[in-house]
Amino acid sequence: MSIPTFILRRLLHTLPLFLCVIVFNFILIHLAPGDPIQALVGEFPAPESYITEMRRAFGLDQPLYIQLLLYVKNIVAGDFGFSFYYRQPVLTVILDRVPATLQLMLPALIFSAIVGILLGILSARQPFSLSDNAISAFSLFGYCVPAFWLGQMLMVIFSIELSWLPSQGTKTVGADLEGLPDFLDRITHLLLPLAALAIRHLAVNARMMRSSMLEVANEDFVRVARAKGLAEKEVIARHMVPNALMPVVTIIGVDIGFLFTGSVLVESVFGWPGIGRLMYESIVKRDYPVLMGNFLITTAIVVAVNLIVDLVYVWLDPRVKYKK
């Protein structure tokens, strides 16, 4: 099967998945108690007529199954609905936040992949040595520590005590920087949330790479490579690493989903204006359309990344073929 056919087939497979995501999330959201109109009004006894009018305006006066059918119909037509809270099209609200999330997630993904893999290789070179044990201890810490707690600790150390790094947002507001100073300003804002978000994934990647490398080390082709007199560096770089990468690449694909989950907390702690925080806010405000839209877009991104991961397999391992 050619690659375009494979991509097309995979995309078609995602359609039922999207339908399930819509129906499941729709039911889940509406099962939760709470009224979006009340969340909007705040601590004030809004007149009954006002609440009735708003329910009608938001389509909340219809039976639930009609609301669901209308929603699916609108999604097919490319209409994600209208935010109850922001009173703007959902797509506008979400797309406004996507760049900030990508600005945080992509560096976190790349950083955790590269550093995780390097630490894994380093660890596997001399199993149970001091460096291996140190990396394992660090990985265990990174895996266990909650991102929101780590975020606040990093803030206390680097923002309050040392005054090295800012604690909030993507850039210094009101400074109107441009060019290189703007870039550096953004980098300094990125470091703490990046560390808080990436550490767990870095730890997982390091552990996975280590065990994968140790597994590959016992394979015949590695023994042959060594027997024919290749330098150890060559053996690792050309024979062991490409073969050990397969499971790590799978994990990195799965990581995308977890990075979204993690970003809900990290973005809230660091005042990062991304879709993770938007998701949290729309739960609190019962902004159903934004929440549904958020779930859908997140699903789309996770599906897309997994598709890319599948394509990377072929590049990494020529034995993998797309079977019919």
Partner: protein
């Protein structure tokens, strides 16, 4: 040999010190060394405020939650504004007259007021705002202005508002929060909910103009050079920085990333002890009164329907301890349902229920609830809002205090929207503990909790389902009184009855804290739920002379 060298060194040090002093004196801006600056305001500077969430819109005609008003009340104006004792002061209205029967309010508007787009402001804008925006689409406005019979505009700068019946707190709902005045030329004939000026380029008449709203990050406003109050505002710009997490909001204040945190929903109360220790900042109570207390479901559990039981619970609560430990001292113990934050209406001589466990036990025995196995008499559910710092810790203390009287408390912690449904709409609770905003007038904040007509199943109305025709009559009397003395008398009596019937045990008046860096001056105390940013100035700004600016 040593002495001359020493003398030489001393001389050199002295010369260096003098030179350094002179250089500093020459190059420095004298303001840096001026120490604390008081007196006349100064012009310039940017104030960065922390707030919990994005406003939902910048159209205060359709939405006036506190978070919206925090931003829009600097972009738009009201007819009046209130001081810390709820006295009205001119804003868009220069002056006003109230007819002797309290039915007609005539406002003279300021001359030469311009909207941010340069169009002139007239009485037509006021009429349009009340009839087509705040009075129609805004939840608070629709409630506040339903008593309006007709609005006349006899001249471009005169507005006559006729009421159906006298309504004593009417001036209090004409501030930029409740009654923001919107431009007719921008909204007339448009779909108000989808008007592009709702979230970009709002056209107001207030001290600051809109510059930018980066959702999830910040809203920036800049000085309106054509503001109708001479020489104001003093600041060049104001940035509202959105920081949802309370702990990080406190950190951002400490690191200087924000200069101030205003209003009750943005102040990180959990961190008040740490913030109090900061040397370069001032914390103060802005005096927006509220009632924190235990409210009973009188038509629910038959046990709490008994007055003796409610009295016993009142005697079993050590309010002082709840305030000191539960509210971290950020509150005052109160004995009445109208808090002392509304000084003219507060009745200090209501029936009191001092902390007395023996009396509580005796009352419960008399009510037919002797202690059973394990020393407990009965169990009650106590509902509260999850994450609300005014409830989370106090309810733990209440549970222990009531346990001593043999009452087992089962805490029910609900997320806000669930709580609104369970407690206020379905009445599925025995006791509820939490804060209620009373605002600057009992007719606005207190009547809704205790009048029979407020048993509506809507959030923040009469959820105890207390009903007493005498109380209804007194609230009606107060709201239509044209003399303040009659109003005060009625509210005094209401409080006396409510404290005898005890649908609520008042525990505390929560302090509404503002924190601001000392380099900013002029932040006011007010019973309004927003801060008037045209009052604030920066100590390193350019000094202004008397006459350069309008005083309030």
């Amino acid at each position: 040999m040593k002495e001359p060298l020493c003398r030489q060194n001393s001389l050199r040090n002295f010369v260096s010190a003098v030179s350094l002093f002179l250089i500093l004196l020459l190059v420095s801006d004298s303001d840096l060394f001026a120490g604390p600056v008081e007196g006349n305001p100064r012009k310039g500077g940017t104030l960065i405020l922390g707030m919990t969430a994005d406003p939902s819109t910048l159209n205060c005609g359709i939405e006036s939650s506190q978070i919206v008003a925090m931003v829009t009340s600097s972009i738009y104006s009201g007819l009046i504004h209130l001081d810390e004792e709820s006295n009205p002061h001119p804003d868009l209205a220069q002056s006003w007259e109230i007819s002797p029967d309290g039915l007609v309010y005539t406002f003279q508007l300021r001359e030469n007021v311009k909207w941010h787009d340069g169009e002139p402001f007239t009485s037509a804008d006021v009429k349009f705002s009340f009839e087509n925006l705040v009075g129609k689409y805004n939840a608070r406005g629709r409630e506040a202005y339903r008593n309006i019979k007709a609005i006349e505009t006899p001249g471009p700068l005169t507005v006559k508002i006729n009421l159906k019946k006298a309504y004593s707190p009417f001036l209090g709902v004409l501030t930029a929060h409740d009654g923001c005045i919107m431009p007719k030329h921008v909204f007339d004939g448009t779909d108000v909910f989808k008007n592009p000026h709702n979230d970009a380029n709002p056209v107001g008449s207030g001290p600051f103009k809109f510059k930018e709203w980066k959702k999830g990050s910040h809203v920036t406003l800049v000085r309106n050079d054509n503001y109708f109050k001479k020489g104001r505002p003093f600041l060049d710009s104001v940035i509202f920085r959105i920081i949802p997490n309370a702990a990080t909001r406190a950190i951002a204040f400490e690191t200087g990333e924000i200069n101030a945190i205003f209003a009750s929903n943005s102040f990180p109360y959990q961190h008040v002890d740490r913030l109090k220790k900061l040397r370069n900042a001032t914390i103060k109570d802005i005096g927006s009164p509220s009632l924190i207390g235990v409210h009973f479901n009188l038509k629910g559990n038959p046990i709490v329907a008994k007055k003796e039981v409610r009295m016993a619970i009142a005697h079993a609560i050590d309010k002082k301890f709840v305030v000191e430990k539960g509210l971290r001292g950020v509150g005052k113990v109160i004995d009445s349902v109208i808090p002392p934050g509304i000084p003219w209406a507060y009745n200090a001589n209501v029936p009191k229920y001092p902390f007395d466990l023996n009396k509580a036990n005796a009352l419960l025995d008399e009510a037919g609830h002797p202690r059973g196995a394990g020393g407990m008499r009965f169990a009650l559910r106590l509902a509260f809002e999850a994450g609300n710092d005014n409830a989370e810790r106090p309810v733990q203390i209440l549970r222990e205090q009531l346990k001593a009287a043999g009452i087992e408390i089962k805490l029910e912690r609900f997320e806000r929207s669930v709580m609104l449904e369970k407690v206020f709409q379905k009445y599925d609770f025995d006791l509820w503990f939490g804060p209620l905003t009373t605002r600057g007038h009992p007719a606005l904040g207190t009547a809704r909790i205790y009048t029979s007509s407020s048993i509506t199943g809507r959030p923040f109305t009469n959820f105890t389902r207390y009903s007493n025709p005498k109380v209804d009559q007194l609230f009606d009397l107060a709201v239509s009184a044209t003399k303040k003395a009659d109003m005060v008398k009625a509210y005094y009596e209401v409080q006396d009855i409510l404290l005898r019937d005890l649908p609520t045990i008042p525990v505390a008046d929560r302090l509404q804290l503002n924190i601001i860096k000392d380099q900013f001056k002029g932040a006011l105390t007010s019973t309004e739920t927003y801060e008037r940013l045209d009052e604030i100035w920066w100590v390193q700004g350019t000094p202004l002379k008397e006459g350069d600016f309008e005083r309030d």
